[in-house]
Amino acid sequence: MADVALHTPAGEHTTTGLSNTKLAVWLFLGSECLLFGGLISTFMLYRGRVIGSGPEPAKGWPTAGKLYNIPFTSASSFVLLMSSLTMVLAVASMQRGDRPKARLWILTTALLGCCFLAGQAFEFTHFYRDGAGYTTSLFTSSFYTLTGFHGVHVAVGVVMLVSLYVLSGRQQWGSEKAESVEIIGLYWHFVDIVWIVIFTLVYLIPS
């Protein structure tokens, strides 16, 4: 059998006929499912364990029903869904070779990501003032760990988007770089689907 070297349009060597980078990103996202699967499982097991080992706080043990502000979290969900739309529009614009429009959508996505993070910081501060510290109970520990890990992923995504915005300002950036935008888009959408699961299982389903 002849040894055939395959190359993607970007000049990347491949033996599978697929983009190596894209294959790696999908593999990474698959492994991320395991990470969040473990965190969500832990939260689901401990969500009812609201009584801590220390003295009971003056306002009583913090429970999901007392802490959650569903309208506020729904607004955060809307912001993240909106950011997924702007991200996919950035990818589509880049694939069409419309770099200025793509850059605008990338910047909008980063700003929406910042809005989501600001909302999460506000929520965490509010919970802490209501007596729900990280070590208050198993419920609060698993809640902060799960939503905190998600928040860190959003923050990493914002850093990548801002980097992409800066790099795409260079003259040599053309439609051949569309895959770079698409790959960051895949990561961003993954962060969105994790939030879809968290929003339903953590916030909407009562313990």
């Binding site: 002849a2 040894d3 055939v4 070297a5 395959l6 190359h7 993607t8 349009p9 491949t14 599978t16 006929g17 697929l18 983009s19 894209k22 294959l23 999908w26 593999l27 996202l29 698959g30 991320e32 499912c33 395991l34 969040f36 699967g37 473990g38 969500i40 499982s41 832990t42 689901m44 097991l45 569903i70 309208p71 729904s74 969900s77 809307f78 869904l81 909106m82 997924s84 739309l85 996919v88 529009l89 990818v91 589509a92 614009s93 694939q95 069409r96 569309a178 895959e179 698409e182 888009g185 959408h189 969105d192 689907i193 879809i196 699961v197 929003f199 339903t200 299982l201 909407l204 389903i205």
Partner: protein, 114 residues
Amino acid sequence: MDADTAEAIEPASYTDAPGGHGETGHSDMVYVKVFVLLVVLTAFEVALSYSHIGRAFIPILAVVMVLKFGIVVSYFMHLRYERTSAFGRLFMTGLFLAIVVYIAMLTTFRVWSS
């Protein structure tokens, strides 16, 4: 590796679709429609959480959650337009293992614990 036989290949990413609307072959309006659908489904979930419909509550929420998950993966992550199923298989393997982890943990703590 024989360099003479090297060939550039088409990206095995999307189906060949006409229209000049990007590689997925449809306009931005499709994404906007998908977004509106996601917002409607989220609003439905929130409205459901304020109603008291009894035992059907969790199954309905779970179905809507899976539906939203599938829509984002299919349309925004372009999995339905991929020419190859390799990407989807990699992702679904991770997702399947994550569900196995959840079931394993649940049975460990709720069934097998004394």
